[in-house]
Amino acid sequence: MYAFDFVRPKTVAEAVKALAAEDAQALGGGQTLIPTLKQRLAAPAVLVSLSGIAEMSGVSLSGGTLTIGGGTPHATVAKEARAAYPALAALAGGIGDPAVRSRGTIGGSLANNDPSACYPAAVLGSGATIVTDRREIAADDYFQGMFATALEPGEIITAVRFPVPEKAHYEKFAQPASRFALVGVFVARTGQGARVAVTGASADGVFRWAEAEKALSGGFSAAALAGLAPPTGDMISDLHGSAEYRAHLVKVLTGRAVAAA
């Protein structure tokens, strides 16, 4: 790891100021960034830790909207969202292992946008809103391909707002060594129809499977998917699974997720 200065502001405003410095980078839970720094794949001059910012942590329900602070660890979401949004809590409780869940945060996961990460599926599948220090971004506009997002340099995810769907479920086929999703599918039935978001499968990162959404909006049951061909598109092909295998998994997992929702 190269050397850097470390600052730990107490408010979002102070953090935004610190991130305006040259080569400054935000630190969430560090569960992705610290391994990256060790490999010298990142070399910030200043690391701005968000862990001391109380206003960025916590889970709250108001009306039909669940708001999660951008600095909230996965373990806290797994516990505190259980009553209001069980599918989201279960997703958070299935990320990595307990120690990763103690530190890793929702904001860090979404800023990173790993193509195999779990939270992007929930955010896109729920039609959530990403709240930053300067604006609000709809999930449909936020994800812009593998490790790419709508965030500007120095922009901080302060919260994520989830409209709680009528029912939902996340079905993850874990890659056993990394514990990330080989493929993961998040399905939700909302007042405006069904949403299906797929992670782990596409080289473009998380995506909505439009044909499945259409089929499920007519009737939210696994049977409604029977006639569909697996999704096409730029499927990832690697030693863990071929493109065809991943496409097949998408269809199977979507069916399981709908049945379990």
């Binding site: 850097f4 470390f6 560090g30 830790s49 862990s51 373990a75 307990p98 990763v100 530190r103």
Partner: protein
């Protein structure tokens, strides 16, 4: 250099560290507490797990300065006041839950975190919770038995390997 202060096993400690100093480096090199092990240094193996404010954390994947003011418990803090082995440690010894012992500090800390959250876990819950702790000697079966025993349950209830 910046200063960091925390409580480790109930004792107030402080020291000078760099921004990039990991918690495990502060513990091992700064405080001379070498009970916490580094197995992989890539956040994968769990040998370095300690408790931070009561929850398990990989000390190779946290900066010391980020934990200023935190309450840390390490394997050195798991023994009884008279120096005898604590409940989880004793169960590991009784049930041969260690071979070379390299993964053991992390295993014991993760097991203790599980028992704090869930005092009588099932075999499946133990295996799931220990997902992030890798034993290169592959002694998992006896580790699971040890955790069952530490929770006051009969380890004979799980199938022989």
């Amino acid at each position: 250099m910046p200063k960091v202060a925390m409580r480790v096993n109930g004792r107030a400690v402080s020291g000078e560290v760099e921004g990039r100093t990991l918690l495990v480096q502060f513990l091992r090199e700064g405080l001379g507490m070498t009970g916490t092990h580094v197995g992989c240094d890539t956040s994968q193996c769990g040998a370095c797990v300690v408790h931070v404010n009561g929850v398990p954390v990989k000390s190779c994947t946290a900066f010391a300065l980020d934990l200023d003011g935190a309450e840390i418990t390490t394997i050195e803090g798991m023994a009884n006041a008279d120096g005898s082995l604590g409940r989880v440690q004793q169960a590991f010894q009784d049930h041969h839950g260690l071979q070379c012992g390299f993964c053991t500090p992390g295993m014991v800390m993760s097991a203790a975190a599980l028992l704090a959250e869930n005092p009588t876990p099932s075999e499946a819950e133990i295996r799931t919770y220990l997902e992030g702790n890798i034993c290169r000697c592959t002694g998992y079966h006896n580790i699971v038995k040890a955790v069952l025993a530490a929770s006051g349950q009969d380890p004979a209830t799980i199938a022989a390997e």
